[in-house]
Assembly symmetry: D2
Homo-oligomer: 342 residues x 4
């Protein structure tokens, strides 16, 4: 049997651990051959491959990124895309295809499985941890550790100076990284995309913190937005705020807090640092087990499924579930954590 | 209401995070007062306390250890122990007692609850992760990260020299730390207390690894033992092996591997390094949520219970469950991981 | 003898290590008493002090920040400032004053010594490493390690995606942090305040790097500026660039590179993360030795001096030297490192 | 011109950084070709080589170990050794040979240069930092950071339990790693090979520390020995102590301290963990600059020299100096640090 493997979407610590586990078990126990498709769906679309065997996966466990490369190429948007993918799979005699990716990447996989009968197994991947079908996705723990370490360091300055420290972390649609790193780092305010924030409330927390003669640390997810849209407009900062990437919500917050409280504010924007480097032990464990179970799905002929974490078990769920519902932060959980604000 | 808090047994990263969460929520939301008992059960036994209020828990989130101190004192072994504990609780007007500890510490708590009607809430703590009532205990993730980082470093030497590298990690009765760190670190052999190992098999793995022109890394839990007791005896190394602490299983293995394979072997014994330092983000998250839910148990009058992790939820289980059954590594899981041996 | 100690200016990992060494040796070996002045020169100016004895310095060695607090208060700018400082020193019966700080803080110390005969010993402190009188200042190594680790993480993305990654690090007037972390991190472009950069040249390096099918990493000191001022003006981005803090040179660079090369660019702004957290071993060693030698200066009655590092030796230099000349990156050294650009 | 490069002796973080710098500058600026000799002197002895060009050094900067491999092979001990080395150099048309290694490896280089006119440039390498010709060697800072981090973690237990914690670190002949990490980690006792220790004095320090209700941390270099040899003999522990590697001085100390003070003691043996993993920023900076200057020596025809660090400058010294004198810890420096003992 020849098995294809591809990784799509943004990179995420643990991808290489998945690939290694698939190949090690597939070759050693099931005697499979492997074809690595290059750069996500671009690989099958353009028949671009990389060698994928035991020597190719040696030493990659602790390395971030993906030896297969990645892209956001979507065959559904390419002319004749699906047909070309099928042609490649046929030509390469691919008996099963393991697709490691997030919502978009797996959405293509689900359609190929449903509508074209391709033998697909999915492995969930999102650094934002926002897939409802699994307790956790790999990469998330690493990102939270990195953000927490940064917040830890800011406490030093918070103890010695009277400055507001704003940290912008990843999370466009879900606030998991902000919530976990903010809680773990002992932040005084955590702002997430799921709940529009009130800049006045933020300033109240900031001010009350200063009264305890301690400087406040504000953790904000990149996708968090203030509650009153008009305010932003009137403020004349729409331009910079509108171009979120160029002067993001972190900078905007720092400026507003300075204006409203009269306290100096400083911003840290972690950016891609959060998704790079070696995966945490938890992510390596999870990614490796995902890989081992994905290749078992192939052996069992259990296609159209995705591996997922439930408690400490790896289970199989229908691939369609993966993309069914975004897992956002529950208001109850956000409130639970709110005891530490201010 | 006045609430007592104590921490018993070996120290574990995350204890302070539990204490902080209990006090922050208890004071801010429920207006409770707190009494910290010093050094585990020694505190109520000898009426030894420490102040426990908001200022006392400031800044302790990222710090390992416990501000309350810890000990292995067991009131069941002290003359009039239980009666003296009750006397202290009465004198201090303690309405509820939150006990953070492992099997032994919680065993006393269960008995106080069952037989003496003391209002007890338990929080599980074991760095070895061997409590069956909860998916994970805090401290474990930190220990695994530390051991994994050590193994990562040894790969450098393994690539440059032709030496066998043995790492002895914690785990007297359960091999969780060895299994997780060994898998995450890409070890070639993992030995756990749950399965007696065959030194000949270990040497076969070591030798086959060398044939791939790569040096082998062997991770061994401190409680792992070879399968053939006689062999150890005849070998004349009983003395050193018998005194496990002085020249533990790591050293014994290194020596046996050298003798049998003719390859040089070097040992790393991590010891207490594994249980110290700042908790990982995961452990801070888990410990904080345990604390928040423990104080909610108090508010709900839900005594004789213990908080536990199930998936991503914090649940309540009977305190007796905590000590009912040791959670050891399942043979199936050990076999799953065995694909990476040799 | 009673000795006063103060720390001024921005915080810097290692300040507590200096304080601890001064107090430990001063108390144990010379039987001195200590007075801690709070918040830099504000302490003597407003007679604000903190207790400073052996218990006060216990456990502070690994902690960033300063237990004495810090500020940029300058008595030269306060009405009757110098006189008030002298009055406090007299009232407190301070026989010697150890001043730990950068150019500004030590400048006041030098003037007090020269013009008012105050018994001052200086300890150099600047995270930017830009004091010419000493080989290194503590805090710098820690900052370089943090920035290097961030760059290391970005390489993961650089290998998997085709994006330009810009990292803005500290350094308003001197490029030492950018130079050391950029070199250690394997950056493809390093931009420092000492040399106006040519945005066209930067884009050439970026483009040539892409041709090697590898994404470029650009490290830029916050004080680096493009060579052609007019270009910035005409470009219409003066506003955002003018407000450096709000959308600093990192963001500006990313935007320009995108516009000129058509490649996506992402920015990381490390900010205060670089000056927080536990000091590196090197910084603890250097800071501790500075403290030990500063208190020896007091014992020797060697006032108006500053301790400094020369090779592996701690030497004494006139306090005036400390502020005589900014140590900037030598063009020859910048060129030496340039072999790795592009 | 064709330049040979080899790395000999124990591995050391930074070796790859030296190699990369040599090749990058040699190829890009001087248009040299390179031959990598495999496994130290075994390479020229057995004519074993590896490709060494720009692609070969890509991405190796942050990686510990050496892409060339290493060994302790000494051509002086091999039959016809020197002649065979010369034969390989002639056959490969090697115009210059850069030798990266410690005392032994450079000793061979010096003899080849002096007696056989081989064009040799040396780069000093020893993780123990015991070469007198240079202020620091790369790898040392990394090892000290790793040991310091381990000691930091032990403080957690030291605060929570009443146990003596012993850490054995590298250093057979020189105590630099013990001294620097012990000082940086706030150890209460530091024992080095340069000064025979008095076990009674150690126990006095340990006991006095306990009186401050804090547990003591003892850092001991693997080469440290007690002052009274007879005591060891009479003690009956000669066997285990005699086989230093199997139950080293750390274990011996722990046992003696337990016996003499009645306090429990625990040991950590870091072993090869100290020489593995990614180099610190300082070591990458130093190693890279050594490489850049070594290839400049080749260009200048300045053979028989070794690069060295003096202050912040890279200088050239006669190769013979490298092995002239071991740099051990000065008694004055040890005494300076002694203020923190007990």
């Amino acid at each position: 049997m020849r098995v294809g493997v591809l990784t799509g979407g943004g990179d995420c610590p643990g991808l290489n651990a998945v690939i290694r586990a698939i190949v090690r078990k597939g070759v050693q126990e099931y005697d499979y051959e492997f074809v690595g498709f290059r750069d996500g769906w671009r690989g099958p679309l353009e028949n671009a491959t990389v060698r994928l065997d035991i020597p190719a996966v040696r030493g990659i466990l602790p390395r971030g990124g993906t030896i297969l490369g990645s892209s956001r190429t979507n065959p559904l948007n390419a002319r004749d895309g699906i047909r070309r993918v099928e042609a490649t799979l046929a030509e390469r005699e691919i008996g099963a295809l393991i697709v490691i990716g997030g919502e978009d990447t797996l959405g293509v996989a689900a359609r190929l499985a449903d509508e074209h009968g391709v033998h697909v197994v999915g492995v969930p991947k999102t650094i934002d941890n926002d897939l409802s079908a699994t307790d956790y996705t790999f990469g998330f723990d690493t990102a939270v550790n990195i953000a927490t370490e940064a917040i830890d360091r800011l406490h030093t300055t918070a103890e010695s100076h009277m400055r507001v420290l704003v940290v912008e972390v990843m999370g466009r649609h879900a606030g998991w990284i902000a919530l976990h790193s903010g809680l773990a780092g002992g932040a005084n305010v955590i702002l997430i995309p799921e709940q529009r924030f009130d800049i006045e409330q933020v300033c109240t927390w900031v001010t009350s913190r200063f009264r305890a003669s301690y400087a406040p640390i504000v953790v904000v997810a990149e996708g968090a937005v203030p509650g009153d849209g008009d305010m932003v407009l009137k403020d004349g900062t729409l331009d910079s705020f509108g171009h979120v990437r160029l002067s993001g919500v972190g900078e905007w917050l720092a400026k507003e807090i300075e204006k409203r409280t009269g306290k100096e504010a400083r911003t840290t924007v972690l950016g891609h640092v959060q998704r790079g480097g070696t995966p945490s032990a938890f992510d390596r464990w999870l990614a490796t087990r995902f890989g081992l179970h994905a290749i078992d799905c192939v052996r069992d002929g259990d296609f159209g499924t995705m591996v997922a974490l439930r408690g400490t078990d790896i289970v199989r769920v229908p691939l369609a579930e993966a993309t069914a519902r975004l897992k956002t932060v529950d208001p109850g959980l956000y409130e639970e954590v709110g005891v530490f604000f201010g």
